[in-house]
């Protein structure tokens, strides 16, 4: 019924600045399907079972941010799309940038 802290999923090594895809289980009625949310990771917050992370993406011209609990059993998979190199651990300044400036340097 419950996943405790010692049953948490394997550590997913992604950092703010990375572009990731989160496969999230969505229940519609009694059917379950997987919805992908792909975007830039802005922050990781908290520690242990309480850890969450923020993903920002552009959906048809509208910026959308979602906060996921890292250890939620609803997260089927977290895939690394590309690594980014940033100086801050919370890259919220991206929200203020538009166009070419709203990019993150690729990690070498």
């Amino acid at each position: 019924m419950i996943t405790s802290e010692n049953l948490k999923q394997p550590e997913t090594a992604f950092r703010p600045g990375d572009t990731i895809r989160v496969d999230y289980r969505v229940t519609e009625g009694n059917r379950e399907r997987i919805q992908s949310f792909e975007g830039l990771c802005l922050a990781r917050k908290g520690s242990g079972i309480q850890e969450t992370f923020v993903v920002r993406k552009n959906s048809f011209g509208v910026a959308v941010e979602r906060i996921f609990p890292l250890h939620s059993p609803k997260i089927a998979d977290i895939k690394m799309i590309s690594r980014g190199s940033v100086r801050q651990s919370k890259i919220y300044y991206i929200r203020q940038k538009v166009g070419k400036k709203a990019r993150v340097k690729k990690a070498r």
Binding site: M1, I2, T3, S4, E5, R25, T27, G48, I49, Q50, P69, H71, S72, P73, K74
Partner: protein, 205 residues
């Protein structure tokens, strides 16, 4: 027959249910409670068991205390308390597995002590104006009428000791029972600070 046990509050955390919902958890540490004596209706006027928990070195307890444990031929425990309405045999132990997952429990403990507090913090009174020469800043206000009744009614809310009194939180859901580790996870908060001695008993008994 009632189901109850003593333990200690360990800490709070979170857990996920299978459907992904997060629940707030209080982890309670429950060592096996050793039954040291049985109180009966005929002899003592009420039904209860006396339990000891948290083993200590024999040198740490006085002779009357040690004697209680010598009767059941067991090493002494730090705490000796009674559980009303619980039945059992002297020498037996009660573990965390007296409860099962999904049970509803009442949890009692001494709340965190706040010391001697005024009426604003203790009874949610409002304060008076701070400026314009006011001397009525945190004063409690009127405590009663005049020549009739010429006294203050009992129960009047006044400054005094706040906290450190027994508080019960009712109908908490038991989420995890781990008898091996001696842990009981209940959903929601529990009175007292970390390490507080808590009484856990099944609801509706």
């Amino acid at each position: 027959m009632a189901t109850a046990i003593y333990g200690r509050k360990k800490h709070m955390t979170q857990a996920f249910k299978d459907d992904g919902t997060q629940v707030s958890i209080t982890v309670l540490e429950v060592e096996p409670n050793l039954i040291t004596a049985v109180k009966t209706e005929e002899e003592h006027g009420y039904e209860a068991v006396q339990v000891g928990f948290e083993q200590v070195a024999a040198s740490r307890v006085n002779k009357p205390h040690a004697g209680t444990f010598a009767k059941v031929d067991a090493p002494p425990r730090r705490n000796l308390k009674e559980l009303r309405g619980v039945s059992g045999a002297a020498g037996a132990t009660l573990g965390a597995d007296v409860f099962s997952e999904g049970d509803r429990v009442h949890v009692s403990a001494a709340s965190k002590g706040k010391g001697f507090q005024g009426t604003i913090k203790r009874h949610n009174f409002n304060r008076g104006p701070i400026s314009h020469g006011s001397h009525n800043v945190r004063a409690p206000g009127s405590v009663g009428a005049s020549a009739d009744p010429a006294r203050v009614f009992p129960g009047q809310k006044m400054p005094g000791q706040m906290g450190n009194k027994n508080v019960t939180v009712r109908n908490l859901e038991v989420v995890v029972v781990d008898a091996e580790k001696g842990e009981l996870w209940v959903r929601g908060g529990v009175p007292g600070g970390r390490g507080a001695v808590v009484n856990i008993r099944k609801a509706g008994e």
